[in-house]
Symmetry: C2
Subunit: 460 residues, 2 copies
Amino acid sequence: MDIRELYKSYKELDGKTVEVQAWIKNLRAQKEFGFIEINDGSFFSSVQVVYDNTLENFERVSKLYLSASIRVKGKLVLTPNNKQAFEIKAEEIEVLGDSTADYPLQNKRHSMEFLRSIAHLRPRANLFRAAYRIRSLAAFAIHKFFNEQDFIYVHTPILTASDAEGAGEMFQVTTLDIDNPPRTEDGAVDYSKDFFDKPTHLTVSGQLEGETFAMAFSKIYTFGPTFRAENSNTTRHAAEFWMIEPEMAFMDNNQNMDVAEAMLKYVINYVMENAKEEIDFCNQFVDKGLIDRLNHVRNSNFERVTYTRAIEILKEHEEKFDVKVEWGMDLQTEHERYLTEQIFKKPIFVTDYPKDIKAFYMKLNPDNKTVAAMDCLVPGIGEIVGGSQREEDYAKLEKRINELGLDMDSYTWYMDLRKYGSVVHSGYGLGFERLIMYITGIENIRDVLPFPRTVHHCEF
Amino acid sequence: MDIRELYKSYKELDGKTVEVQAWIKNLRAQKEFGFIEINDGSFFSSVQVVYDNTLENFERVSKLYLSASIRVKGKLVLTPNNKQAFEIKAEEIEVLGDSTADYPLQNKRHSMEFLRSIAHLRPRANLFRAAYRIRSLAAFAIHKFFNEQDFIYVHTPILTASDAEGAGEMFQVTTLDIDNPPRTEDGAVDYSKDFFDKPTHLTVSGQLEGETFAMAFSKIYTFGPTFRAENSNTTRHAAEFWMIEPEMAFMDNNQNMDVAEAMLKYVINYVMENAKEEIDFCNQFVDKGLIDRLNHVRNSNFERVTYTRAIEILKEHEEKFDVKVEWGMDLQTEHERYLTEQIFKKPIFVTDYPKDIKAFYMKLNPDNKTVAAMDCLVPGIGEIVGGSQREEDYAKLEKRINELGLDMDSYTWYMDLRKYGSVVHSGYGLGFERLIMYITGIENIRDVLPFPRTVHHCEF
């Protein structure tokens, strides 16, 4: 029986013999009795096991090290006056695997840096048990949300021969011998000898491929790893992270925002309902305002404000900012947070950005200056979702690609979507780790990723 | 309203005005009436739209090309005597985006090779609409299966600095300039200048990292892309594919097989219940025996047979095989298929393989010759799942790593799992594309992947 089951049905198990296999989280051996906290990871709370320390067959137990694995058989007894609702009075304790005195994850405060250096053990620590279970539930909630609305889940490719979106620096992927690559007659690297007969990279976005599926299924989403080879050593950037990218035919930018808002609320609701213990832990030890903040988001109607209006508002508070506010600028985190935290005091969508600071594929507005983009900003974190309506007009899209000097040949297939039955369509991207940081209050992206990959760091 | 909703509630909509946006799948304009089949991808079957070809405002409609997008407003009428249960009598037809005469996906038989060359358009063809919707549902079913049993979904890393499993050829990932890489004093490539300060590759398996999480949460699974740089141009190999890898603490190889069997049945049931139209299509046009085969799997108890016994059985039919049967050999596809198709006539697990043909981490049996491995073989395809109990004994695992001449330094963190509370644990891998091939009857892995990456091919 696992500990989740014990917690689910301990009332019915009162007085019954139960058997559990788990790891030792804490052990106190007193003169007469020993107390062991055990956990098998199936439930956030541990179970207390009490054993008679005077009995010879428990002699070895008192000498076990932290994280040893044991099998316990004993009677479940309700303990209504204790912190925990029940305990197990041990009849048998079998040692499955002992641990050692130098087990690195002792019950004391460790620095986050140290814990990152033992990424293979840190999932056993409470903070990470909370973070990774919330991560798992949030991933499921996203799949469930889109499945209930008949979106098709598409595995867009990770390996790509084009830097089509230009969203960031890319990693190159190769089977050539870098020390001594094959060369053509004129001395260039001979990529016809590479695995794919040409240079290939890791994807920075599945959006463009996703659009091809939206033109067949109407509503699709991607959810997969994405890569940026950016040399930015911050608490919010990782070289490898997971992204969700829905794409919807027959939907404009307003409907796009409706979906994004519904999705965020759905995931937060799902996690709060299914990870109560973990959220309580984060609220207590990571971010004291967490539950209030999440409740606020669940119950708010997200505000929608144009970029142009947002700039006007920000100008009224110009003295607050390091970076001067001007129409045409990219909003900085300080501006984004001021808008969502101080002005609107709730999540907002900023829409209709200047075309020059947004990607080529975004739908040009009738003013010819702005595009039908939207960024969702939330208190405490800033941007969490970015998206837009896509330019569905062949001629306008062609013009924009040429204006920006992009290589039209790389976009033939993308242009085809505007040639064979083009329709209004929209989509957005959600950085999954940002969402988890938001839901847990954890401030460093390295601590919500199982094995973070950042510049200079690729361990395990 | 989307077409799925129309099919769900057409009886209640009889005589009512409905509005649909979709693409033209077929168009026949006769003297008095025009007939358009439209589909928006939300449902497998199309909807027939009838319009009065004598009316001036429909003049343009008859000249539309295949795949043009339109908005139709009209009255839904039940047609109990026709193949389709209802049709729409058009009152308004708005052209959203026309197509062209040379639209590549005309309504005729195309070769699979040609369709692969238009991978951005083929999701609009019936076969691929079936395949990709089944793929999406199967992915959801896998998440649902594990979620219902409280498994934690772990995103194991794609970028890795170790070739720990040695499961196959790897792709190198780099930000160095391959044409002119930085060199150390002694002329070697200076990887301290690479993004991660050392050579990195794309993962071939998340298992070892997955095990670290199983030691914290008991039951975990991965579901993500995996890479093999193998130069094998077959119908079953892709350079990029998706894999599911559950890992379970406190479970032996028998329980491992229980989970694998339950998972396969769960996914097949889920797809058959939720993609009836798509499965019917595959049964009719891809593989006539498909539904019988899937039903057989759902209703069979998978047989379990040791490798040693399987060899004995195969020897009795030695004349049937190209490759001679001997204890110690790796089973070939011909042997696997003979066992599951001819001998047992249902899915089987072959267990306890010779240690020398299996990976270093597999649990050594008391006979010292075999390991507690298991492969699941299914009729029509052969191996679909491969897994094992893992060696939890520190000394035995260490001995095996040394015997095989592997670099112990790379495994320090993996060995730690046997040092700090080791427990019996097991897991397996399921190639997701193989599963989709199995459920659809599609024979080439290129046709169940959205944008297949195979040797020499990385388009879109």
